[in-house]
């Protein structure tokens, strides 16, 4: 037979353990939500659209006719696939305006000042990026 004191001590230990576990779980849940928020912000389609459109526009502005430039766009292409956008339609160039589209109701455009003929070609060997062929504007 256990004494009254021993039972009280055991109950107290049980309470402390349960409280600590709940406390740790709540902390983990809280931190997980925070991390999910950060990751979702960092890899948001709108952010990637803007980033890649500006990056490509600057790249073409600085390019010379005859150059072929490869750009890794793995993250953007993965998002486009999830959103149901064809990988070959992610980047379009009309006149001197680059448009990157990763969502059905989205897209970001930015212009470049280099008067060249730039053509985007999806890299079918890796499915991770685009080749940009820069030629003289006829």
């Amino acid at each position: 037979m256990r004494s009254l004191g021993e039972n009280k001590l055991k109950n107290k230990r049980g309470n402390i353990l349960t409280e600590n576990i709940i406390f740790i779980i709540l902390n983990l849940v809280f931190l997980s939500i925070l991390i999910v928020f950060l990751v979702s912000k960092m890899s948001a389609a709108a952010v990637l659209e803007e980033m890649h459109a500006k990056q490509i526009a600057l790249m073409i502005s600085a390019a010379e006719p005859g150059m072929t430039i490869h750009l890794n766009m793995e993250n953007a292409i993965n998002i486009a696939k999830k959103e149901g956008i064809n990988s070959g339609d992610v980047v379009t160039i009309k006149e001197n305006v680059v448009t990157v589209k990763l969502r059905e109701k989205g897209g970001y455009s930015y212009s470049f000042f280099n008067n060249v003929d730039a053509r985007p070609n999806f890299d079918t060997s890796t499915n991770k990026g685009y080749f940009f062929v820069v030629d003289k504007n006829e």
Binding site: A44, M51, S109
Partner: protein
């Protein structure tokens, strides 16, 4: 007493956690909510392009001093200042470039070529994100007769709406 104290610490712990998380959420939202400002890089590239167009390896390129070059800077340097058709950008003009040729010894201006929206020049030197970005560079060059030139290039890019919140 101890148990009460523990609970009190937990409440404070969560309060601190919420404050820290709130701070992180605010900072991340502020950072990713702002557009990337690439105007500085764009103006730098434009300046480099103009510099390469007028001078190569320290020598003035052939035809730079000719009237044809002065009248057709855009064609000669393969530049197109037509921006995308948003925020009235096409009507306003989002770029300006000015190239000054000075005598290297006397510093007297020989001639000047400019293209784009001249009004943007007025905003150069003003502090604040809402103004156009101006990049000014100088280079030294000589022509085939050995005449020395100082070339000042001023490039301005506006595009404020897509680069500043």
């Amino acid at each position: 007493m101890n148990k009460k104290g523990d609970k009190l610490i937990s409440v404070y712990w969560f309060a601190i956690l919420f404050i820290v998380a709130g701070g992180i959420v605010y900072m991340v939202s502020a950072f990713y909510g702002k557009p990337y400002d690439v105007r500085g890089a764009e103006a730098d590239i434009l300046t480099t392009k103009i510099a390469r167009c007028v001078s190569e390896a320290g020598y003035l390129k052939e035809g730079v001093l000719a009237e044809d070059f002065k009248n057709n800077l855009m064609e000669s340097c393969v530049i197109n200042f037509q921006a995308e058709d948003v925020y009235d950008w096409r009507e306003q003009g989002q770029y300006y470039v000015e190239v000054e040729f000075l005598d290297f010894d006397t510093k007297q201006k020989i001639f000047e070529i400019s293209e784009g929206n001249q009004g943007l020049k007025l905003d150069c030197g003003l502090e604040g994100e809402g103004f156009p970005v101006c990049v000014e560079r100088s280079l030294y060059s000589i022509d085939e007769n050995g005449n020395q030139y100082k070339i000042n290039i001023l490039s301005i890019v506006r595009k404020t709406e897509k680069n500043v919140q």
